[in-house]
Amino acid sequence: MTQAVIVGAGLMGRLLAWRLSKSGVKVSVYDASREDASLSAAWTAAAMIAPISEKPLCHPDVFQLGLRSLQLWPQLLAELQRDTGQSVRYLRRGTLVVAHPSDAAELTLFKNKVCDAELPGESYAVALDQEGIAKKEPQLSTSFDRGFWLPDEAQVDNRTLLSALSSAAEQYGAEFHYSAPVQFDGDRHLYRRDDSELTADIVIDCRGAGMVSRAHYPEQYPEQHPEKDRSTQSIEGIRGIRGETIWVACPEIEIHRPVRLLHPRYHLYLVPRGEGKYQLGATELETNDRSPVSVRSAMEMLSAFWALAPEFSEARILSMETNLRPATQDHRPVIIDDIHDNGRIVVNGLFRHGFLLAPALLEKLTLGALSGLMSLPKRSSTGPRRVYETGY
């Protein structure tokens, strides 16, 4: 039986664990965090599948992969439900994009970057006036007089999904080990756990921001950093970008779909999370710092709640969360195929686009680098290379 070790039980790690164990591979997953306190960016994410909203901010390849993921998510979730009996909430109601009248230039900028020659037709983004906005979301503040509706976009319940994925993988025999940091010995290309080498036919490294070399550990927050020694674990150029979000409960208000609030300095979104709960995020700060949400960020996010709908002023704050997004230097995801020389694959750099990219990357991996896992790999003299280089 082919044996695979997956390092990192985030979204990518769990998707791969499910797919590989289902196809008959013996899978062991190791994750540094506790089972009930995931450090994965996927746990903290708002999990929007929003390629059009992200188009002004992302690399064209990310946009193309995102469009593919938008097609793949429904069938992936249907298959997961067949395997586990568990249904994962998938909200396909599009995205509403608004800006304050004083930031109207941001809507023009958005339009310039979204409705360009590559996207003929009006279907990706429908321009709305005040009345159109009120029709979609009657409880949103009436101060928004222009906006866009992006009908195709979706959002997935990430936390239910993550637990469904690991249950499904476990059904097919995968083993999950939590509080189990794995060290990578860059000189010998080995992964170690408690000083013994992890042996498998293949190691798939999905550590995300856990791979960042220059991590920042404020001493006063030790619980944020269970894994201290990461000195030799980095691949070049992966850095963590801090993001902060706030969850509130506000049963008095009903907003049906993710709302993006354009602003010259922030990329803010509000996402309905069901049962009267809402998540607002996210800051984007260039630092590998996981410490708790700052006063300034909290103030800015709370004022955004208020601006989106005055009813939120009586919402109750449930939690404030911080995490790190793993990003490459060009903000495209990276897949490094090092199977032939060192028996490993690295998948990383999903940045703020984990849910936007994961199904498309999973498809690339299962059709590409991992397709030969059950047969003998062909020898190659090319060495490790970034196999994901061009658009979909």
Binding site: K113, R214, R239, T287, D289, Q329, H331
Partner: protein, 274 residues
């Protein structure tokens, strides 16, 4: 001083040669790679970095900053930390001192704003901070209004340059008051005057340079364009062209047409004369 230098590209500030008259900010690029390519296309004299919203530890453990520093090391550009976000002299001085420790430079772009929304300079706090920082040995480049008295005051405190706004930050409106800028230029002949903020398109940067600005500092117009690398290159050309035009001497405007080709000698020229 600098404005009498005949060079189209370099200028001297505080006895330091600055390699280019195009200064560029480091915020809001789509990715570090695109930022690096935009810097390469711009060939900037200074690259500004903000300490806003960062603790000292966050700046130190920050791969984005490391990337900027790596790029600077391989170029002739200098790092110019700024005090963006400061709303009082005290706060600005604190950020400047932090910047000097972290980046090991005496250069500081001093920015003290009145409020977070208009982002207009608070000139009273600005002057107080400039005085203190000059005394502490900084080379203070203050972001200020285009008021002559304010600029004179900042220069008299020892600031080696002044950086009046063309228009409010991020508006992209260009030089809103060219008359006032010309007053500054003709009154402060020896001073280095850098246009900072409010430039949206290359023609606006070129206009400021034609009118005698010594350099132009901008960020959003490049970083948020559809193609930051191409836009950086467009600005570099415009700024250089504007400088050349200023040195060449622009002809004065007239109210009546003056033919560039003499009419005398053309058939019937005397009949069509007004």
């Amino acid at each position: 001083m600098a404005n009498t230098e005949s060079s189209t590209s370099q200028l001297t500030i505080a006895e330091t040669v600055i390699s280019s008259r195009f200064w560029l900010g480091s915020s809001d690029y789509p990715s570090p790679d695109i930022m690096g390519a935009a810097f390469a296309a711009a060939n900037p004299g200074f690259v500004t970095v903000s300490l806003r919203r960062q603790t000292a530890g966050q700046v130190k453990h920050n791969d984005y900053r490391h990337r900027i520093e790596e790029w600077l090391a391989s170029s002739r550009a200098k790092l110019l930390p700024n005090t963006a976000g400061a709303t009082s002299a005290k706060e600005a001085i604190h950020l400047a001192v932090l910047a000097r420790e972290l980046f090991n430079t005496q250069w500081i772009k001093l920015e003290v704003i009145g409020d977070d929304y208009s982002l207009q300079p608070d000139v009273f706090e600005l002057v107080a901070a400039a005085k203190e920082l000059q005394q502490q040995g900084f080379s203070v480049l203050p972001y200020c209004t285009d008021d002559l008295g304010v600029c004179e005051k900042l220069l008299s405190l020892g600031c080696p340059a002044v950086m009046p706004l063309a228009a409010p930050i991020g508006t992209g409106k260009g030089l809103l008051n060219p008359y006032q800028f010309q007053t500054l230029r003709s009154s402060l002949k020896e001073a280095v005057i850098v246009i900072d903020a409010g430039i949206g398109r290359p023609s606006q940067a070129m206009q400021a340079m034609e009118l005698g600005a010594d350099a132009v500092l901008l960020n959003t117009a490049v970083a948020k364009s559809n193609d930051p690398v191409a836009m950086a290159s467009a600005f570099a050309s415009a700024i250089e062209a504007g400088r050349r035009a200023y040195l060449a001497g622009v002809i004065p405007e007239r109210d009546r047409a003056v033919p560039s080709t003499p009419n005398a000698g053309l058939p019937f020229w005397h009949q069509s004369a007004p």
